[in-house]
Assembly symmetry: C2
């Protein structure tokens, strides 16, 4: 059988991909204003489950965009997500991306407290006193710690992107975030990942036009 | 409704996750010797489709492991995959990870030739004359260029991890790789990603025991 490649120019590949996604979504109901975020997650994963599992708190997208325009920085729980976030575009708005997972002090704190490194990362971020966007693609323990600090009134994140992936406490940690009054974008259920976390950050930045 | 977190120690989370995956896979047939690679892809994505879509050329896993033990280096098509590959463990065997996507000369070559940067990256890697493992999680054009160079007898990769994700030429590019006589691990269909590419690299390294 002959394999036929479609003749699509490099700069047209993304556009064509989004056309296919839009077509295949058909009448699937999406929350107005969230469409491009959902579609970019599908673009990143080829998984149409994201049309069903992405949950947005009221006005989350607008609040996040305003925070980005005001120079908010992003804290993430994996080097992969940090690598995937468009740092050049974020820097234009005045923000930067932090990942503390490989920091020596984080490893030491986690060991001393018997927690995951992700928990220690959240404490390190909280101590900085900024209202970050948290983009969590891996560690449910990061979401649990965020929930605790929010309950204690110690942090007020601009947005929580709650998309850890996995099998242990992942579902529950997302449900906890959805109980807070903090703006959130959460992938309900087990799915998510560093790629999805980065993709949502980029989708929010690209809403004013791809750069 | 009260949300109950499972009490699992940090160092036990991965073990418990793999137990759940094994249990849910049940009698799903997996090719002997590939089980841990399939399970790690499911662990990374929470997507059991990988039990169905991962295709392995005959002896691919053993050949790849031997290449790793002999110090093979890995070329990947995204900074995200590079960030996700365990570079410390690979370095113990003598290998390193390359990603040329942000290189200035690659951008210039791509522009001059009207190709994607991924295509130019493969040419840059081929010019180095080493038998790399190629871990392709994003660009089908990278797989197409690998196919062409293999057909011309110009490269002999130790392994191709063919897991680009998406909607334009992704399915076809994977089919092309499966027509070669080069060792491959391919996620048939649209799914894959940088996370899956990195995860397969790590799974191959961890087969002798997690470090």
């Amino acid at each position: 059988m002959k394999i036929e490649l479609e003749n699509v120019k490099p700069q047209e590949i993304e556009k064509k991909s989004f056309e296919i996604i839009t077509q295949e979504l058909g009448d699937t109901p999406l929350i107005p204003g969230t469409e491009m975020i959902v579609k970019r997650c599908i673009h990143t994963s080829a998984d149409f489950d994201y049309a069903e599992n992405l949950c947005f708190s009221e006005g989350a997208v607008e609040k996040a965009r305003e925070a980005i325009r005001n120079g908010v920085s992003i804290v993430t729980d994996t080097q992969m997500a940090k690598a995937g976030i468009n740092k050049k575009t974020l820097a234009k708005y005045g923000g930067q991306v932090y990942c503390f997972m490989s920091d020596e002090d984080v490893a030491q704190t986690a060991k001393a407290n018997g927690t995951t490194r992700a928990t220690a990362c959240i404490d390190k971020a909280a101590a900085m006193g900024e209202n970050f966007i948290f983009a969590i693609g891996n560690a449910p323990t990061a979401l649990v710690r965020l929930y605790e600090l929010i309950q204690e009134g110690k942090i007020h994140p601009a947005l929580i992107i709650g998309v850890p992936v996995g099998f242990v406490n992942v579902v529950q940690s997302k449900e906890l975030i959805m109980k807070t009054d903090v703006p959130y974008i959460v992938a309900k259920g087990r799915k998510g990942g560093s790629n999805i976390a980065a993709c949502i950050c980029n989708a929010l930045m690209y809403l004013d036009g791809r750069e």
